[in-house]
Symmetry: C2
Subunit: 396 residues, 2 copies
């Protein structure tokens, strides 16, 4: 097994290569904001600006600037600020409305709307971190407003998002909603002492996440009823191992902050260990994109593809689990996932990872970025892994 210190070196070098790729190719000096549709070598193949990916790149740049000395460069903060200003100027569908578009034209006019909360989630996430990095309260105030809107839509008024409630469709909650509510509340309260509203919001997210852990804690279902029951059919049986594992480290950190050892153990066993075991392809390695809890074939065409982000999230989750309970099998699992990931997803020639492999592990899409892949999962995971590895090495 490569030593922790060898992994720290690999992870740090890979983070540098990933950030360099986005710095070199994604900035739009003319209109602000970031291109995300980048070919393997960084060529822009589409100028659409995706709001999730704007907010996420603002978050990455700001977080690295704030926390990692070698990224504390003025041009990183300036790029984050240009992205944040672009969002403040253009993301809203209408002036004064909290609804944010899903996609914008290059010059910032709304081009697509999703009937979900995620555009607003990532606006808030990015601006909160930018406010911390830049020391400017107005960014954090905007993040706070967007968070209030997200909380309202997620908890009380989903109908305001515009999706019709139809009599034959049982109401359902997607795992990503409480996951992102928890993640956002933790981002906003981070280091901020007591904040009853955010604490309560984080607790709501955590509690709703736990409702997705079903069948005697043996499986994390992607969709459950709002009162936490299993739903019929393919939707009810859908598993998304990457989401489960990502939610696992969100929950673990929440449990650690609250000193809730039972919850931490449940997060590790139910959300990280179980989904990793069930989601790992025994034949070709790598995590499946989707599975069915009863072993049926999923209807998602990409179910057996290997996507970059579940692997990035699993690296974070396994190191976080190891740091928590120090069981050697966590480190072995980290090693196995990280070996697969570095072997298959890296692009040593141009930096940043490929996003989409076939089941067999061959590159299926050569793009480095697109409508759903930008500067986020790779950089966040590598940064968090580097931080955790350093901490582990420091402790010896």
């Amino acid at each position: 097994m490569a030593s922790l210190s060898a992994w720290r070196e690999r992870v740090a070098a890979e983070l540098d290569a990933a950030v360099a790729f986005w710095e070199r190719h994604s900035h739009d000096p003319q209109h602000g904001g970031f291109f995300s549709c980048l070919s393997r070598d960084g060529t822009v193949y589409d100028e659409t600006k995706y709001v999730w990916l704007q907010g996420r790149q603002v978050w990455v740049y700001s977080r690295l600037y704030r926390k990692v000395p070698r990224f504390r460069r003025p041009e990183i903060l300036e790029a984050a600020r240009a992205g944040g200003e672009f969002l403040l100027r253009c993301a809203r569908l209408e002036p004064g409305s909290p609804r944010a578009a899903f996609a914008l034209s290059r010059d910032g006019r709304p081009a697509r709307l999703q009937r979900t909360v995620f555009s607003e989630v990532f606006c808030a996430l990015g601006l909160d971190e930018l406010g911390r990095a830049a020391g400017e309260p107005r960014y954090r105030a905007a993040a706070r407003e967007w968070t209030a809107a997200v909380a309202r839509w997620a908890r009380e008024a989903p109908q305001e998002l515009g999706r019709p409630q139809l009599a034959g469709a049982p109401p359902h909650e997607a795992l990503a909603v409480p996951m992102m509510v928890l993640g956002l509340a933790e981002q906003l309260r981070d280091g901020g002492g007591d904040d009853e509203t955010l604490d309560e919001l984080a607790a709501w997210g955590a509690q709703r996440l736990l409702a997705h852990l079903q069948r005697g804690d043996s499986v994390v279902l992607e969709n459950v009823s709002p009162d936490g029951k299993e739903l019929p059919g393919s939707m009810g049986r859908l598993l998304n191992p990457g989401h489960a594992i990502e939610a696992g480290w969100f929950l673990l950190r929440f449990a650690q902050r609250r000193g809730d050892e039972a919850l931490a153990a449940r997060a590790i066993a139910g959300f990280i260990e179980g989904p990793l075991r069930r989601g790992w392809d025994p034949e070709h390695g790598g995590l499946f994109a989707f599975l069915d809890a009863d072993g049926h074939c999923p209807t998602q065409l990409e179910w057996s593809m290997k996507l970059w982000w579940p692997h990035a999230e699993a690296m974070v989750a396994l190191l976080a689990a190891y740091a928590h309970d120090r069981r050697p099998e966590r480190l072995e699992a980290f090693q196995r996932v990280a070996d697969y990931t570095f072997d298959k997803f890296r692009d040593p020639e141009h930096g940043e990872w490929f996003g989409y492999l076939s089941r067999e592990g061959n590159v299926a899409l050569t793009i480095k970025g697109g409508p759903f892949k930008g500067c986020f999962h790779v950089a966040r995971a590598l940064h968090m892994c580097e931080e955790m590895l350093e901490e582990l090495l420091r402790e010896g």
Copy 2:
């Protein structure tokens, strides 16, 4: 090369096996309508009823009953009628409204709505054919109403479908819209003598289809502007070879009916020959699901997968082209596509085809039906190929 008469035998036997599969596994005697979420062996893995697939199965059963002596069995007509009655009773979002749901619960309550015209298209298609098979005008009257609504949304009032017009999104027309308008108008006017409204509707569909043939007739673009110009970005460059080829035989039949030889030649060269050449995977065989006109990597995760329906449509299109111009290379191309298709998609054990193969041609999803695959493309293509092969053999 297998002889035309050998192909007629193979195609007829395969049609029997496909229809038997759906007759055995998809009927719901309790609520009417058809299950489409069927595993490899026909097990129902989800009870949702998809409106496209209800209308399409009604069409297939009714057409086979009406045109093919060995399918002129009362139970086929009864099943078609049960499907048609289910649509009349349940497909509408509200009583009196022409808007049809995309998906229904098993007992027929609306479960999902799409902001497109296709649910209504397939309701109309199925009911018109059912009206012919059953000799009952009320089905055809309902089809006519739905067709009028489709024509209105496609041509004048797309905003009534509920998709917001956003300032940063250039208006675009998807190939499937004029293709289905043409197909529907031809279905309703079939053998019906002069009908100015339907003739004009078909001509509108054909003309708008031709606007997708761009760059000096060298490429069929999936999306163009409403005034027939190429659009920027990935959306503007998107190719869907299966759609182009399917539109090709729609256009060819339209041109034949009108005795328009120049249009027929353009349909064959531009919509069938070109997309087949460009869309065929030189490495593993089979038609790609999506491509980019400038050779970029598409962003659709399934772009390199081989889907059943483009291959079924290509078999129809190539035989129709051969029947039209008798050039031997059409028959060679038919043979090549049909060999690949019968080799890779058939399931000799349970009947009906697999729908989704990996780029390499391995079965990627073992399902026989799902939200977008029901009793339609396979049966329609095999029926049409059998009919054309018989005609060719008769002519000697």
